[in-house]
Amino acid sequence: MSRTREQFPLSPRKITKKTLASTVWGTVALLILYPVLLFYLNTLSSVGINLSDYFSKGMLIIVGIIILHIILMYLYQTWYFNTYFYDLTNDYIVIKKGVITPREITIPYERIQDVYVDQDIFDRIFRLYDVHLSSATVSSGTEAHIDGVEKQAAEGLRAALLNTVTERISKHRENKLSR
């Protein structure tokens, strides 16, 4: 665990938030679609199928799938949480995430163009924040972010980054002027 992560940690609520965010739409879709499908098939077929029987057995399977999905997603998100890495070194910030396809982005402080913090709807439920950094490229905006920190850590990270970046700008200007 890096010093930066100790100072500005990820919240464990992130695991729950991510599990919920990834499973909720699928769950709702399945729970609605199955009865609708059954109803539709029933109205189509001339012979009335044993609706209640199909319904109870089918719903059991559907609920089983949903529970399995939630459990697997929770385990995956825990794994993801544990391997999430970010560090503010002397010259650059490095963010490394991903379990199946790890991705690491390194941005030197002088290249940081903006820092912003946002929340999606699930973040708001769990009181979590997303800290985004970008350099002048399009992909850095999507890759370089630390999501799932609590308010204190988010404010701290933003302040630390802006502080370091302004320091660099003034140091650079000093160097230029002194020549």
Partner: protein
Amino acid sequence: MGKIVSEKEYPIQKIWLVKPLFALVPFMLTFSLIFLYIIGVMFNVRSDGTSVKYFPFITVGVLFFVLFSAILRRLTFHYLFEDKVITLRQGILSKQQRQLPYGVIQNILIRQDVFDRLFNLSSLSFENVSTQILTESDYRKVKAWIGDLMGFRASRVDIPGLSKADAENLKSLILEKIKENPIEDSQSGL
């Protein structure tokens, strides 16, 4: 420091050449029926389906072609990390050359996909700011066609198939060079 580092020290590993084949296989499986039909039409299939016997030969032919072009692309892709600039050359038929001063590099990415993890490879990328901007989905489409991104394209340079250690070392080298070579005018970067 006048050290010049070329691809000899940080080579694209040979095993990476097999990767485009892996990318192609699911593509071919998905479209095999359409593929079969097209081949059937091309070879004037008779109702007894005799053209189907050509399918394995055509598949093998395509796989060889993909492997061959991957080999050629790797052979013609050169990268040289000099004192003040990075020199890149690529192109099988039409040759392209690019020089990037260290100061324009905005960020460095190291990524591994499923194939990379199996063979302990990494893909190193760095970006500058240029007028031609491709989005991540554009890059993904290119990657789907040719199996992996290699070379310079718009604002990004990709060096795939490096060993994990090589990628880390090369990244440290580039970061060091960026530090040594700050951008002189304040118009670019910050």
